[in-house]
Symmetry: C2
Amino acid sequence: MDTLYFATGNAGKLEEAREYLDGQAALEQVEYDYTEIQSDDLGEIAATGARETYDAMTAEEANDGSDVNGSDVDGVLVDDTGLFVDALGGFPGPYSAYVETTVGVERVWRLLEAEDESNRRAHFRTVMAYADAEGVETFEGSVAGTIVAPRGEAGFGYDPIFEYNGQTFAEMTAAEKNAISHRGRALAAFTDWYADQ
Amino acid sequence: MDTLYFATGNAGKLEEAREYLDGQAALEQVEYDYTEIQSDDLGEIAATGARETYDAMTAEEANDGSDVNGSDVDGVLVDDTGLFVDALGGFPGPYSAYVETTVGVERVWRLLEAEDESNRRAHFRTVMAYADAEGVETFEGSVAGTIVAPRGEAGFGYDPIFEYNGQTFAEMTAAEKNAISHRGRALAAFTDWYADQ
């Protein structure tokens, strides 16, 4: 069985990806600090990161003549996620984590407060990039919603201001949110493709 | 005389840098699309870009056995500039150009409007990175000011909301603005250092 590596510091993401892979391949975590480039395009950011991580891990394998962590590196997964607000030209987009830390979610809501509801459309978007000896492929999942005044205590990040079907992500249980998750959709697109390889 | 290359698409920046270099070295423009990494640190972004551009240009020189553009590449300059607002944790910082395009300058003002004036401190900051065969050095220049409601028609970018000594940058002539310029200060730091080499 092939062994894939998911470059993430988040064990929850690893578990979720394992569920989608459903035993098609072994999936291990690797904490590799790949370069995140500046780009409007999540796919380009994730693809560059996956390529770099795969190249570094396989170079290491070749160098010491042995397998990394005792198994071949057959492929590497990297994900990138952002909240894209239509009326703000896609902001905060690829810089969502930075904007959350600096500006804060409450202020992002304030930027939209004066807009009509029809101008408050937004998408949560995740790209999974998969790099192996053949090249890099990217798989996208997205969820459309509306930016609203913060409501709810669950979740994290922009969840309190992202409304989907009458509820904010922060008002949903983890199970409800995962069922419509942008990351889940990207993972499903990847594992469908992977099954055909 | 040594020949340095300034990786920029902006001929105005090239002219300004030539004035500061004052004949110490020849300075040419190169339009090389170096990778901009995601980082809170302008210096890291500019240094990575200067290193990459220098390596690419000297590799090209070695490959075709001839000098690029007919002269040796003795060093490469790359600059990066951002507006750092204290009350927003440094936002928009390294992503100032992206935020200008997507969110817009008027909305950045709106984020600060509710704050006391003492909470509206900001810095314009430029880092010049210089890469040569020895390594990379970075030189910073900054100007402290206050974020205000937009005033003035001159300049570009965040100039209308950045007040220095009672005037916004957009209310100054180009000569007034250049005399207190963050980029000028970074260039002066670089050329002082370069003169000692």
